[in-house]
Symmetry: C2
Subunit: 215 residues, 2 copies
Amino acid sequence: MSEPYDPAAFPPLAVTVDLVLMTVQDGHLAVLLQRRSEDPHKGDWALPGGFVGAAESLDDAAQRILADKAGMTGGWLEQLYSFGDPARDPRMRVVTIAYFALLPEHRLRDALAGRADLTLAPLDALPGLAFDHRSIVDHAAARLRGKLDYAPIAFALLPSRFTLRALQQVHEAILGSPLNKPAFRRRMLDAGWIEGTGEREEGGAFRPAELYRVR
Amino acid sequence: MSEPYDPAAFPPLAVTVDLVLMTVQDGHLAVLLQRRSEDPHKGDWALPGGFVGAAESLDDAAQRILADKAGMTGGWLEQLYSFGDPARDPRMRVVTIAYFALLPEHRLRDALAGRADLTLAPLDALPGLAFDHRSIVDHAAARLRGKLDYAPIAFALLPSRFTLRALQQVHEAILGSPLNKPAFRRRMLDAGWIEGTGEREEGGAFRPAELYRVR
């Protein structure tokens, strides 16, 4: 900024990072929630988050919260938006830099085991959330819808090898509506993002489908 | 966030808003710069910005800086990204929420008159900027390029009535490369965003071109 610093007129503010960690579970976009152990909203579900340390960058804070709160490393991690309504936290003024993270469902299963304070909730059936976390989740879902066709985010929600059926399910989960199957297959194969592996999924009653990977 | 507040471990931080106010001048994307009157970087050009007040939202802070520093109201104003590298400001830890604003050139001309501390600099010939403001400007330019085809940002850089030639010039300024004229005209007329006004621009040596407006 371009003005001298006057801490009386412009006191420093609490700055946090909140994390919208999303996956696709049973064909539905789902988000990781943590039950709050402190007031306000004690006992309510909320996004995992934490304060930004004095010596860490915003990205590092997001990585740390992903690792400490959700037990995750890796995955797609991107800054979403900053939320700074003065009344969003009743205790004090808090500005939050929200990030979203994407992980395949199997990565989350272990992290959730034995954690009574964590849950994966489908976006179309969310419990009431603390603070303005519902609007942060909505913002993240809209960002995914907008990015789907020009960034490889769908692959962040899948294992390294996947069927076209699974890829379509991820697209439909993000968009919230069904897609025409042959048109989708054609579009994915033409787009050049994926290639066949020459292998097929483990057998079932039907002919096992071909497995693909990111090119 | 979900942990109790420990101000010793996580002290509050200085939070600012920095503004990337852009227009198209002579066919080039240009940004409003303000000369710093304080150290560090005293005398250097920088983005206009300011601290976020204790009782104002981030959007309100951005509007206030647009009005106070650049003398502007209205225009396209959107949050860009938050920059929080611990070393970005040598005086103290500062997290900045960067916004970008778009205005047609004629709106800026009056605001700049008689202001020795403000200048409009083309993005392809920027002076050295204070702090990390150059990377903030680059981020804003990339955002414009990404948004151009799916959001009506080009119209925010034009007067309410404009020729297709002027619209193409704005697109080319944002993309940084020339576009095929007949293909561009066809795409704009097919897209449905604009309509003819039935009027023509003020005369010149050539046949005056038709004026369009946003539908």
